[in-house]
Symmetry: C2
Subunit: 402 residues, 2 copies
């Protein structure tokens, strides 16, 4: 009996784990996104929705939409329905500032959010959860705030429109209407409930238990009276990686009980590590990711040395069997960042048939990433402290819905 | 075995319960304050400390000190040591605004705090925990804030010096340095720890789990940068009823770990209900207490009809045996509010010997309380909304230590 129950436990342990603090596939394999959609209870983002986005915005869908990087959603259709009737919405995304510099995976939600902001012409709030990182990573308050400001510069460098964008640090902004909403949410969520959603234990500190409402309440317009006074019915759309879904399941559960709309979500897959697609990149291994601070030479070295290849062991075998595109990281990365659909299709065909070699694909990827990273570095160098202050000023947004 | 363990549990259940939400004596008897001091681990406030207060302040000890209303403390001696060396401190007290009008028991910590403020000439912060009451009593945010303002008027009517007093509502004030300290405290307290201190269960909402740090952090000067900037080492003295001790046990545990002094406490007994000394008065039974809104006629009726008497059943027996002062509520109440020691001693002697009748003692008590309540009502009627705004304004205090 004991053995049987132990082996059952083992099976459970081997299931994939996806929550805001841990992403681990079963047996070190790939994340099964279909299972994740089933488990979380969100919906797959289908072709019809993507076509609606194109027709409503009058521009082609972002490459992250066309290629399934953003692949799941909750009530995204409600946002589009309302938009079609002339009712705008606002965007909410965020970042936990736990490290000095961002890697490419960190940029993905921001690049996509910028596209949404430009395409729908809507306001955006960006939460920097310096309080969360102070509590989870055991950073000091001051260090968390410093990292939040550094990260804000990278976020601003993504090109957000200051006349529609409010960036805030929790340590600076929690209080007033925001705190009132935190209390309203907290009243509706039992400890057992957060244990079920987030897996906290009795040995976890109460800061962890207190935090989920902090990430919940930017979903409610009344948390931002300087932006949305008189617009308390505005809908909210949250672009994020799917590991953040637990926070917003909780938020959506509570929202109608306190008189608010449920926020809608549009959720991405994880950006794979250079070593292979087994989860998110690891901040503890600098060679697992391309950082926005990497030089062209760094990028070349990392891609050539560490990017897991689906090519064959020898040129002879490669010419004969072709590359295994399913596990090839350069092809995955090009899928995120090479915008030209025709070129990507051509590379896949040639590489898959063995006519193109790994080295050639990696060379093209180095070009693509170097261009993106150098463009980001130029943009970030132009972000002054005054600009950070301006984005983070508690102020009305001059062009909310123009 | 099962029966034995059940009966053990029963014994435990019959122990007195004292926490911020429940005060219940064993078997409906009196609270055993000696046992409480032992259980909580605080110290009895002895004669030597009271004499030190008199010599340091150059004025007679308050009646609440002389008569043991404030009877326990934690590190009060450290406050006096520092004061003697010329290092002042600040006072912190508070109220959970759960009802429209206060009863006499609610006034006790404020009357005593006013005496301490006047005697030591020190600044005072008063926390109105409208967030707590919103969460525990299921009041709306707006109703909790309304009650906080109403209660602030009663507090101001106690005569606090506006040039040394800052009153704040959590809903208005939580944020900034205060929130940062909340996070610092939260990081140091596990869920198991708060369960041990406060007895929360998994079915309690997470607002309850999040709240203890909110009541903890006014103990730290850095939570009030507009008052104590550059004075982060200032000591804090908290006058409160002893049911609040659990919050400050937790606070004192955490303080040195985050670089702050442990706050000192000076703690009172509970003010007994008219029906007898079995705990605190009950807000749900208006006839269990004298309210500051009661008329002279109300007071007379309540005292005559409900105040539990230690007098004998008949005049003959009373003349023969005298009153039982140990259970007599009019004598207890006079002990709180009749300032003249000689007169009180005389009444105790005459009544205890049966020469004075219950009716006569009650008549004197009605006089004393009516005078206090009418004085309070006059003072409260003079408190304008502008004065409330002025006390609650986030501002430096002009006469912090003059």
């Amino acid at each position: 009996m004991e053995n049987a129950s132990m082996s059952e436990e083992k099976v459970e342990e081997e299931e994939q784990i996806v929550n805001p603090w841990e992403v681990a596939a079963k047996d070190g394999g790939k994340i099964d996104y279909d299972k994740l959609i089933d488990k979380f209870g969100c919906q797959r983002l289908d072709k019809a929705l993507i076509e609606r986005v194109e027709s409503l915005t009058g521009r082609p869908a972002h490459v992250f939409l066309r290629r399934g990087v953003f692949f799941a959603h909750r009530d995204f259709g409600d946002i589009l329905d309302a938009f079609q009737k002339g009712n705008k919405f606002y965007l909410y995304t965020g970042r936990g500032p736990s490290s000095e510099s961002l890697h490419l995976g960190h940029l993905i939600p921001f690049m996509f959010t910028k596209y949404l902001q430009d395409a729908f012409k809507v306001p955006l709030v960006i939460q920097l959860t310096d309080d969360e990182k102070c509590m989870w990573k055991n950073l000091s308050v001051e260090e968390s705030q410093r990292l939040a400001r550094e990260n804000a510069k990278d976020i601003i460098a993504c090109g957000f429109d200051i006349s529609r964008t409010f960036i805030f640090s929790d340590f600076d902004y929690v209080g007033g209407a925001f705190y009132k909403n935190m209390v309203r949410v907290s009243k509706c969520v039992t400890y057992n409930k957060v244990v079920g959603i987030f897996g906290f234990t009795g040995e976890d500190h109460i800061g962890k238990v207190s935090f989920p409402p902090v990430q919940a309440v930017p979903s409610f317009p009344s948390s931002f009276p300087h932006l949305f006074s008189g617009k308390e019915n505005l809908r909210c759309l949250i672009p994020c990686a799917i590991d953040q879904d637990p926070y917003f399941r909780m938020t959506r559960d509570v929202a109608p009980r306190i008189g608010y709309h449920k926020p809608s979500l549009i959720e991405s897959t994880f950006f794979p590590a250079l070593q292979g697609e087994t989860g998110k990149m690891s901040a503890s291994d600098p060679n697992s990711a391309i950082y926005v601070t990497d030089s062209g030479k760094d990028i070349k070295t990392k891609i050539n040395r560490y990017a897991f290849s689906g090519g064959q062991d020898s040129i002879e075998k490669h010419r004969k069997y072709g590359a295994n595109l399913e596990v090839d990281i350069p092809i995955k990365y090009l899928g995120f960042f090479l915008e030209d659909d025709d070129e990507l299709e051509n590379i896949r065909a040639e590489y898959g048939a063995g006519r193109m070699l790994t080295g050639e694909v990696k060379q093209r990827l180095v070009q693509v990433l170097t261009e993106i990273v150098e463009r980001h570095q130029r943009a970030r160098a132009a972000v002054t402290d005054e600009m950070v202050d301006a984005f983070m000023a508690v102020r009305p947004l001059p062009r909310m819905f123009d």
